[in-house]
Amino acid sequence: MTAVEIVDLHKSFGDLEVLRGISASVATGEVVCVIGPSGSGKSTLLRCVNLLEQPNSGKIVVNGVEITDRDCDIDGARRRLGMVFQQFNLFQHLTVLDNLTIAQRKVLRRDKAEAERVAMDNLTKVGVADKVRSYPAQLSGGQQQRVAIARALSMGPEVMLFDEPTSALDPELVGEVLGVMRQLADEGMTMLVVTHEMQFAREVADKVLFMDGGVVVEQGPPDQVIGAPQHERTKTFLARVLDPIHRTE
């Protein structure tokens, strides 16, 4: 079954055409990683998928519902997609527990006990259950990002979107977040992940998309796209990312 279907998606900011006809699909239970140079439109693609940006044209279908349809209930559609941001974006004025319960209560209308039970389950899953009473500013980056993942999971999303979830982390904290994502993938969560972690993409992804200049240049299984790229642009990009000397770029 297809969880997310993206058809000929176009998005411009003024004169700048950022997405120039993207078509891709994510099957249910599949992990798709999007790689590509900075500025190639990866974030914009993800933001279009949960309608933080309005595409200019094209279609996005999530589990049979066309969310780009004019009559579609945007808030309802977003609820079905969990989003994890590069900068975590935890609600700074709320405790970890309240970060996880507020949308459950206000949007899903769950009662307090139910919302807290779901929150605790997810916090336990990502390994920060001992931090329920803390405020985001008191947590490390890795802990914050794991809380952000738990917050998205608490809404019971059908698909999880990750936009460079480890790019803002100190190197020693990257592993704990990737570990949680790996576990989610093992449990069968459908995931669309923008990442620069090639090792993760190789091991966890079912499919890899290489984007450059607003188009999907190449896609396929990781061993093919990362292991044996066909296109010159993909090769150049991978050479730069995988070359240890330029790693920090």
Partner: protein, 262 residues
């Protein structure tokens, strides 16, 4: 003379000038007349307890009621100012510009003399208190609106996006996520606004006040005229300072705390 020496010399000179001015004032002033006129215990006795039970009480009521009106209206205007609907933005902007451009005194005069002529029979609830709350509140709202706007815009964009990505509507995200964080940011400037209002409440006199609706400035002024003695003014002034100085201190502490938290 070495530059260092010269600097010491100049500094020393500045102290000498300061001391000279102080001495001059001290010796030239007529202290007994001053005490008689500004610190007259007999006259001071006359000011109590009304200075506290009526004047201060009314000043506080005028200030707080205007503050509540200004707070609610200011938040509303700020949200209109940030609205995606152009008409709301235009109205909010016009409101802010007009009421920040007018002296509060003029607004009071309009309320005291203009409105009753324009709308005969117009009355505000709670008489004088209602009129003051609205007139002073309208002025305060314009300033508070700009403060709220700045506070809302200071909340990082990602907060709204995270809220929306969880399925919250724009309004829900504003109420539950953005405004609570904005309020924390604007506590110091809003406390400053309270201090300003506390002083501006003295403008109530242009509406004409009775012995029961009088406030600190008017009370002090009237009593001073009655006794041909300035002591009541000193008392009124001291009462303002008793409130404003601690509040000012609190504002500075809060600001310092926020700077550190950055």
């Amino acid at each position: 003379m070495s530059p260092r020496k010269r600097q010491q010399f100049v500094r020393g000179g500045q102290y000498v000038v300061f001391a000279a001015v102080v001495l001059l004032v001290v010796f030239a002033a007529d202290w007994s007349s001053l005490r008689q006129n500004f610190a007259n215990l007999d006259v001071a006795g006359q000011a109590f307890p009304e200075l506290i039970t009526i004047a201060l009480k009314n000043t506080v009521i005028y200030t707080l009621s205007a503050y509540v009106v200004g707070f609610v209206l200011g938040l509303l205007v700020a949200l209109m100012r940030l609205s995606s609907i152009a008409v709301y933005r235009a109205v909010a902007l016009a409101y802010i510009e007009v009421f920040r451009g007018l002296p509060a005194l003029v607004v009071f005069l309009i309320f005291g003399f203009g409105l009753p002529v324009a709308f005969p029979g117009l009355t505000f609830p709670f008489d004088q208190y209602g009129t003051v709350a609205v007139a002073l509140g309208l002025v305060a709202a314009a300033y508070m609106a700009e403060t709220f706007r700045a506070g809302i815009q200071a909340v990082p964009r990602g907060q709204m996006e995270a809220a929306r990505s969880l399925g919250m509507s724009h309004t829900r995200a504003m109420v539950s996520i953005i405004i609570p964080q904005a309020l924390r940011i604007v506590i110091p400037p809003l406390t400053n606004e309270l201090i300003l209002l506390f002083k501006d409440s003295s403008l109530v006199f242009v509406l004409g006040v009775t012995s029961l609706t009088t406030e600190l400035s008017k009370f002090g002024g009237d009593l001073a005229t009655e006794h041909a003695n300035s002591t009541p003014l000193v008392l009124a002034g001291a009462t303002y300072l008793v409130i404003t100085l601690p509040l000012g201190y609190v504002v500075r502490r809060l600001e310092a705390k926020q700077r550190k938290a950055r």
